[in-house]
Symmetry: C2
Subunit: 360 residues, 2 copies
Amino acid sequence: MRRCTANRTFPSIDSVVKTLHDATVTTSQDPRPTMLDVARLAGVSLKTASRVLNGEPHVAAGTAAKVHTAAGQLAFRLNGIARELRQGARSTSVGLIISDVANPFYARVARGAERRLRSAGLQLITASSDEDADSERKLTAELLERRVCGLLITTCLSDHAHLEIERRLGIPVTFLDRPPVGIVADTVAIDNEVGARLAAQHLLDQGHRRIGLIGDLSRLTTHRERVAGFQSALTEAGVDDWERYVRADSHDSESAGRSVRALMALKQPPTALFTTNNRITIGALRALRDRARPPALVGFDDFELADLLGVTVISHAPEDMGAIGAGLLLARLDGSSAGAHSERLPVRLIERGSGERPPA
Amino acid sequence: MRRCTANRTFPSIDSVVKTLHDATVTTSQDPRPTMLDVARLAGVSLKTASRVLNGEPHVAAGTAAKVHTAAGQLAFRLNGIARELRQGARSTSVGLIISDVANPFYARVARGAERRLRSAGLQLITASSDEDADSERKLTAELLERRVCGLLITTCLSDHAHLEIERRLGIPVTFLDRPPVGIVADTVAIDNEVGARLAAQHLLDQGHRRIGLIGDLSRLTTHRERVAGFQSALTEAGVDDWERYVRADSHDSESAGRSVRALMALKQPPTALFTTNNRITIGALRALRDRARPPALVGFDDFELADLLGVTVISHAPEDMGAIGAGLLLARLDGSSAGAHSERLPVRLIERGSGERPPA
DNA sequence: CTGAAAGCGCTAACAG
DNA sequence: CTGTTAGCGCTTTCAG
C-alpha cells in the first residue's frame, strides 16, 4: 500500500536558500516533510528513522548518519502532535490560569512556574481570566481539550467539583493563591492571616487606633483571610469598631483610590491604612500623593519601586508560589498519591517609612 | 473489527460523585472516554457523535440530545490533539518568545497578544528566553515541534535564516520589538530613533549639554536605534563630545545603577541622563535616590509609578505591540501574501518633572 | 541491529 | 439525516 506522500517532491535545500532573497512573505503550502519522507530519502524504514530521530540506542552509526543527513536536508521537524496522540493523548504542556499577566504579582507567579516546569521538559500555556468566572470555565475547558497534562489555577470560581473528574482521569490540578471548594487538591497560598495580623499589629504598635482597610473583592478567600488577620489583631488590641474603616471590593487601583478618598473624607478619618494587595496599595498612594500629612500605610504584596517610595509592605515570594505549585503538579504526574498538600508561603514585614508614621 | 475500547467500563456519574468525598488525591488511571464511547452509549455511529459534538448541522434533535446526554454522563472531552492531527497537524496555539515575563514591558506585550489571539480562538504559549541565544533557539524548536501555528518573537539572535524554512512550510513568524536579520518578515517595533531624539531634544531644551546615556546591551537593535536618535539630536545641537557620557550594556537595574554612579563620579559629571529602558531607568533612580541635586532624567518606556515618582518618560503602548503583531500573524494565517509589513509604534514624551530640571 | 503492521482519537470524503 | 471507511504522523509491538 502506497501512502499519498509517495510521490511528494522534497523541498531541496537549494530551493529553501533561494527564497531567502524573495521579497514576498507568503504563507505558502509546501507540505511539511514527515518521518516517512526522511526514511525514504535515507533509504531506511520508518521505524529506523524514528529510532534515530529519538536518540534510541541500537542503531548502526552509518545508518544514523544517513537519517540525520536526510532530516537536515528536508528541514524535518518531528510532529509533536502525532507523537502525543500515539503516546496517550496527553501533551507536554501545563496550563496556568491567572487573572492578568500584566499584574506583576501574577507575572512573577507565571515566571516561577515556567522555570520549574521547563526544568522538567514541560511547557507552560498561560491564560488570563480577568477574574471572570465564565472566562475561567471556558479557559479550563479549552486547556483540557488541548490535553494539557496538568493545571495550575488561580481560581475565581466558588466551586470546583467539575475538576474532580479530571483528576480521576489523570489530570492533576494545583490551586494557587486561592484554595478549592468542593474538592480536595494541592494548594499553595500565602500566609494571608499572619501577614495581615503583622500589618495591623505594626500599625497598632505605632499608636494607631483608627486603621482603615482597603480590600479586594470580598468573595475572594485571600480577602477574607486578610480581613480575619486584621480583625484579630485589632480586637485583641481592644479596637472594637474596626469595621467602620473597612472598605472592600476594590479590584483595581482606581476604585481603591476612590475608597481611600472616601475614607479620608470622614469627620474622623483613619490615621493609618492597610491596603490588602499591590493594585490597591498603588491606588492608595496615588490618592494620597498630594496630602501634606498622609496616613500611615502598610501594603500587602511587595512591588517594584516600593523601596524608592518608602512604602512599608508585607512581602512574600510570588515566584515561589508558581515554582512550588508546579513542583506539586510534577509530583502528581510522577504518580504521587499522597494526601492533598496545602502549602502556606511565609510573609515578612519590610519597614520602609510609610508604616512607621505616628498618628496625626 | 472490534476496537480495544469495546469492553471498557464507563465511569458512571455515581462513581465520580462518590470520590468527591475521598480524602486521597490520586492521579488515577481511568481511561478517558473517547468519542466512540459516547457514540456507543448513545447508540449512534462515531460520525454522528462527531457531528453533534462539533455542532454541525443536519442532525435530528432527538439524536443530538442522546449524544449530549451520553457525553455528559461520561464527562467526555474532545481530544484536541487527535483533532489537530487529523486536520493537518497544526495546532490552535501561537508561540510567543520574550526575554522575561516578569519584566512589565514584556508582560504587557504578552497581554496584548493574548487578547488579540483569543478573540480569534487561538491560545498563546509564552516562553522566556532570558536574552539567551541558545535558549531562544531551543524554545523555537520546541514550539515548532508542538506545531504552533505561528510565532511571535522578541529575538536576541543575530540571524534568522532558519525561520525562512518554517515560513515556507506555512508557519508565519512576526518579529516584535527587534527586526529580523537575514530574512524578510512582518515586524512591529517602537519608533526608537524618534523617541530617543525626543528625549535628547527635551534635555537640550532645558539647557543641558553634558547628557549621559545609559543603554542596554549594545548588540540590540533597539539600543542602537536609540543611540542613533540621541546622537542626531546632540550633534545637531552642536554637542560633539556626546560619546563621552554614553555607557551601554546594562541589562538590569543593578548594572545600570553602577554605570550611573560611575558617570556621576566623573570630575565633570553629566547634568542630565537619558536611560534607555524601564529596567535602566529604575536602576538609575535607585542610584540617584540620595542625591540632593540629582541630574535631570528622561527614561525610555513608561512604567508603573513613574507618575508618583515624577519621572519624565518616552511613552508608548506595549500592549499594541503584542496586539498588532498578533494581528499580522492572523492575517498571514488567513492567507495574506502581501509584502512584509513593518510597523513602528508611535512614542510621546510625558513631562513629569525629572526631565524638566535645569542644569546644576 | 532493522523492519512490517497496527492503531492513538479524531475528521474528511463519500455513500446510503 | 446517518453511517462506513480511510488515514493524519507518529510510536509500539512483535518478528526477523
